[in-house]
């Protein structure tokens, strides 16, 4: 079994006065695809942001490849080889599509080439010179994902990557994630669309009220359907 690439324990996080995470524990091993499931407001996004170091303040332990990153500023965390794709996409209006795509600096060898990214998302190639935020919602989502694939970061944090995408594209993203996994990337995924999550993930963590409350292996999903429905209120 591969060692834990990302190991989070006792993670607490705050936005200003409000205490959001109350001791989150989970691990992601190298080469795995792991999802965080949970209702709205359970703290999934906050967990990702805390790993990246872009919440108000945080405490606890976040180890990446054995290095403690809890006291590092977020740019230093990123340079260790972690990349984050936010749920609100974060496309820059003052940059055109090309500049948006090329913005994140490479942090390691082995990122995808621009050509490969265009293959994945042909929409982008057509609209290369237009202003980033003039893209449609779904196109922006493609750009946001494509952008971090370039950097060579080996751990990808994808926050609801399928939100607002047409079903055809969702299927496309699914194929991409499986392919990245095969190429050795490690992926932490937040997904509402759990039918989709089931097609790509190895394991699932369930969050509630700022804590991880359960862990379910993907092959045990059927067996745990009952419980899961309760957690997610499907």
């Amino acid at each position: 079994m591969a060692e834990a690439m990302l190991s989070v324990s006792g993670l607490n996080a705050w936005y200003g006065e409000s205490h959001i995470l109350h001791g989150v524990d989970f691990q992601v091993r190298e080469g795995e695809v792991v999802t965080l499931l949970g209702r709205n407001g359970a703290g999934k996004t906050t967990t990702m942001k805390s790993v990246m170091g872009i919440v108000g303040s945080r405490k606890g332990s976040v180890k990446f490849k054995g290095t403690e990153t809890i006291s590092l500023p977020s740019y230093a965390i990123a340079r260790q080889g972690i990349a984050f794709c936010p749920e609100e996409r974060g496309i820059f209006a003052s940059l055109d599509v090309k500049e948006n795509l090329l913005l994140p600096p490479a942090v390691a060898e082995g990122g995808l080439s621009v050509e490969t990214i265009f293959e994945l998302f042909p929409n982008l190639k057509e609209r290369l010179a237009s202003q980033g935020t003039k893209l449609s919602g779904g196109e922006q989502q493609m750009l946001a994902i494509g952008r971090i694939l370039r950097t060579g970061a080996k751990l990808l944090l994808l926050d609801e990557p399928t939100e607002g995408l047409a079903p055809v594209i969702v299927q496309q993203i699914g194929r991409t994630i499986r392919r990245l996994k095969n190429e050795g990337f490690t992926i932490l995924l937040v997904e509402q669309n759990f039918r989709f999550a089931a097609t790509v993930a190895d394991r699932h963590y369930v969050m509630e009220h700022g804590r991880v409350v359960d862990e379910i292996a993907n092959d045990a999903l059927e067996a745990n359907m009952e419980k899961l429905h309760e957690y997610l209120g499907v």
Binding site: M52, I54, Y75, G90, F92, L102, L103, P105
Partner: protein, 295 residues
């Protein structure tokens, strides 16, 4: 040559050229404001005071240490820029999470302090600063006697403006800056040291103001009040141009300088208000400003 609107062409060209010189100052100052506003989202009310500090530090260098104009051009932006960095590190950076208006209020307060201290120290009657020897005298352009120093000011400010524009709009560093303007946390999560970038940008903007101050010192008196009223005019320039683009603030700066120059020919009484009148017209037609993006 026939008269144009009853003004001899010599005088008209002369005034246009003078307008261009004034415009150079507007452009440099509004450029500095735009750069700072871009990344910090703060209207730097201290800008006028920092421009004044630029002139004063040049004066002190000359009178206390015997360091001349050319070195001052280099040393002053750096030293005043460093004071800017200090302000950013100790005070401004605590306000980023709040409403931007607090930044305006803070820098307003700092401007009062700086101005007050300089007035206490130096009075406000103004101190002379000589034109550097190499640029004394002037050139007869036929239609006017052009002091060499003023020609130099136009050229150097154009160069600085265009260089700044190039860096921000056309380079990788510029794309980091523009992106960080919108979403600093995200840019930071890409592995870019945004806090340092913000600090340096503020330092750069302040340095630009100080640099403008050094340029101004030989033309105007070095006085604690030199920035206070100018900054309000520059604000109007900024509203007219809109904060949308760097080029916008450069073009607006020069353009308004020229318009102001022309007003001095045709209706001098209005020369102090013409920019504000233009601002009103622009607001009526294009509320976001000539180059601004609607927000």
């Amino acid at each position: 040559m026939p008269d144009i609107f009853g003004i001899p062409p010599q005088a008209l060209f002369g005034q246009l050229l003078l307008g261009l010189i004034n415009g150079a100052f507007y452009a440099l100052l509004s450029l500095g404001l735009a750069v700072i506003f871009g990344l910090l989202n703060i209207i730097n009310f201290t800008h006028g005071a920092q421009y004044m500090m630029g002139a004063f530090v040049a004066w002190m260098l000359l009178n206390w240490l015997g360091v001349g104009y050319w070195w001052a051009l280099l040393i002053v932006p750096v030293t005043v820029g460093l004071t800017g960095i200090l302000i950013e590190r100790t005070m401004l950076h605590r306000l980023y999470k709040l409403d931007h208006l607090y930044g305006l209020l803070l820098t307003f307060g700092i401007a009062l302090i700086i101005q007050g201290v300089f007035r206490n120290q130096f009075g406000s009657s103004g101190l002379p600063y000589g034109i550097p020897a190499q640029l004394r005298g002037g050139t007869d352009l036929g239609f006017m006697f052009m002091p060499n120093y003023r020609g130099w000011v136009v050229v150097v400010s154009l160069v600085v403006c265009l260089a700044t524009w190039f860096v921000i709009e056309k380079t990788k560093l510029g794309s980091y800056l523009r992106a960080a303007t919108e979403n600093p946390a995200l840019v930071q999560s890409f592995g870019i040291n945004v806090p340092r970038m913000i600090t340096l940008t503020y330092g750069f903007g302040v340095g630009l103001a100080a640099f403008t101050g050094v340029l101004a010192a030989p033309i105007y008196q070095v006085s604690p009040l030199m920035g206070a009223d100018l900054i309000i005019i520059v604000f109007a320039v900024v509203v007219i141009g809109g904060m949308g683009s760097i080029m916008g603030s450069i073009l607006t700066g020069f353009g308004l300088g020229i318009i102001e120059g022309l007003t001095k020919v045709f209706y001098p009484e209005a020369s102090s208000t013409v920019i504000f009148v233009i601002m009103v017209i622009v607001l009526l037609i294009k509320p976001a400003g000539l180059f601004g993006r609607a927000r």
